[in-house]
Symmetry: C2
């Protein structure tokens, strides 16, 4: 088929102009006689690509100068282990606010190193809402407070930055970074895998307040040390050059499209369209998340009759819409609509959902 | 320019048919309406790509069934930390044989966790030879013995597998895996970044004897645990799908070209050609490595007059040969001639070197 509207949760759809440029450049990058994926990361070509990507990301996300930016391997999950190793002393208290599957998974990376306090837990409520800030049991001596800005499986998103006082706030922004303006200065550390809003899988971004890097941390190999990575310009060992390059192309595309302010508008319209179809379906479709905590990025929904699931997915695919099957943890359907998902794709899905209901309601 | 002969040490040249296929498939993989880099790693499309890549690698490198294969992020360097965490108890003795820059760098990843014994060290000799096996000071109680099969900077390569008795042998094969037949059963663990002989940067391969995974290891996050990665089919978190896919295409290409036996013949011819030019240059070119330890993969060489270096590189580039500048650690020149470097490229370089000598000798 031609290009479908791809609602995958990550790896996710990429901007078509970016893919087209990467395709054109794949055999010979800018006339140097080789692909960017074949060139030394230490050569002038890739060094420029890398520096430009950082500059563009800084502009896109408005990253203050007193924050360092790292481009690393290992995805968001590896960073969850590294933040314990780099910013806590052995056995130190850390506070985790858990509002979905990924916040819960993060605990596994930290428990071997820290005294983990789950300060708030949405699981008893089925991860359908964010526990009220007044219920959080924060520790005054915590090394940091961690939360997940957007939960891709449960479709739960923070729409405000929580106030946690003087303790540095760490946040997993894998699935919502650059989707709207963000006051980075409120955070100690922001991190995310690139494969949702920032580009391809295989590279993760860490944005960290420089003074935190002075913490001694725990015994660790050089390759697990953020200071060493910063000193080595994220090239302590060979970085994933193609993935970094492709992320850089996505940053340029987002800037050219109008930056995070423009994507905030588009994303609000896109999410609004789908929630509207769901909420006006008279129960044919259902989203269980409290309205105030609904995600703009990932919209899980269920058909009132699960026996229609297979037909829904099949007909959607016939209509050029793929990857709508929900995550195995939750079942049902899920539409992931990051920056690169065009409004036309969401409009097509909304139309299809109404039509499917009419035929099967 | 059109495609040059690219002698980069890694990231390195890729087989042109592989790049061409990746280019053709970049916008739409096998008619599914999306790029492979946009599809879920858990979907049937990528699961098949991943399984096929493992099957092809097993066939290519003749990996016995009692060895597990992992496809991971973090490059070879991350594996150097993970092998300490997974296969040693805290502070346990490990033996390292150091024959070049990368073997030395590996120590930094292990020292925080282990009692490192440098059993043999080529550095006093300028890393120009491999210390004789009879001089190695191995420890009977070591968790493993580690060496670097091929040193990309110093151009030093083991041409036999050292006998270390009952202690498991671990080896960094980043730059020579699949370049010739290998008896995997002699090893406890083989690992390497893919960016030299196996494909693109951003994915590393670990081949490990399954019984070793029963060792308790040291306290570690789940994402640093090989057992967890194996249980999760190397998809504990989102894997670098495009890199894995491209490596898979390279495996298929190598099998179609005749497998490791054929590449062993080609690589011997290629290296022979360059060493021949150097050794018959009457000192115009120089390689300092003891003949028995010379690398088939990376050939560092020096011009007798370093003031000619810039002209050599410039004229080489004009003749369609790039990335010949030596690593900053050693200076001079370096020709990296992995599997994907065609014999025509090495012939062109040999001709150019003779010609350059004639004009400047």
């Amino acid at each position: 088929m031609s290009r479908a509207f791809n609602f995958a949760a990550g790896p996710a759809t990429l901007p078509e102009p970016v893919l087209r440029q990467a395709q054109e450049e794949l055999m010979d990058w800018h006339g140097v006689g080789a692909s960017i994926v074949e060139l030394s990361h230490r050569g002038p070509e890739f060094m420029e690509v890398a520096a430009q990507a950082e500059a563009d990301l800084r502009r896109l996300v408005s990253i203050p100068d007193d924050y360092a930016v790292l481009f690393l391997q290992g995805g968001a999950t590896a960073q969850q282990a590294l933040m314990a190793l780099n910013f806590t002393s052995p056995g130190q208290r850390v506070d985790y606010v858990v509002t979905g599957h990924w916040g819960k998974t993060a605990l596994k990376q930290v428990r071997p190193y820290c005294d983990v306090n789950v300060a708030a837990d949405g699981e008893p409520g089925g991860f359908r809402d964010i526990p009220g800030r007044e219920t959080w049991k924060l520790s005054p001596d915590a090394a940091y407070v961690h939360y997940t800005a957007n939960e891709t499986i449960h479709g739960v998103e923070f729409h405000d930055i929580p106030d946690v006082g003087e303790v540095p706030l760490f946040a997993d922004f894998s699935s919502s970074i650059a989707s709207e303006p963000l006051d980075v200065s409120r955070f100690g550390l922001i991190y995310g895998g690139a494969q949702k809003n920032l580009g391809p899988v295989g590279v993760a971004v860490v944005i960290v307040r420089r003074d935190l890097l002075e913490r001694a941390g725990q015994p660790r190999a050089e390759i697990l040390d953020y200071r060493a990575h910063l000193k080595g310009d994220s090239m302590l060992n060979t970085p994933p050059t193609w993935n970094w390059y492709l992320a850089g192309l996505v940053f340029k595309w987002m800037l050219a499209e109008g930056g995070v302010e423009e994507f905030a508008r588009r994303n609000a319209r896109k999410a609004g369209l789908l929630y509207d179809v769901i909420d006006h379906s008279g129960g044919f479709y259902r989203n269980d998340v409290a309205v105030a905590a609904r995600s703009r990025m990932n919209i899980p929904f269920f058909l009132h009759d699960p026996s229609l699931d297979a037909a829904f997915l099949e007909r959607a695919a016939q209509n050029g819409m793929i990857s709508l099957k929900g995550h195995r943890v939750l079942g049902g359907m899920r539409a992931s609509i990051y920056n690169a998902m065009p409004e036309a794709g969401v409009q097509a899905l909304a139309t299809f959902m109404r039509d499917f209901q009419q035929r099967n309601g």
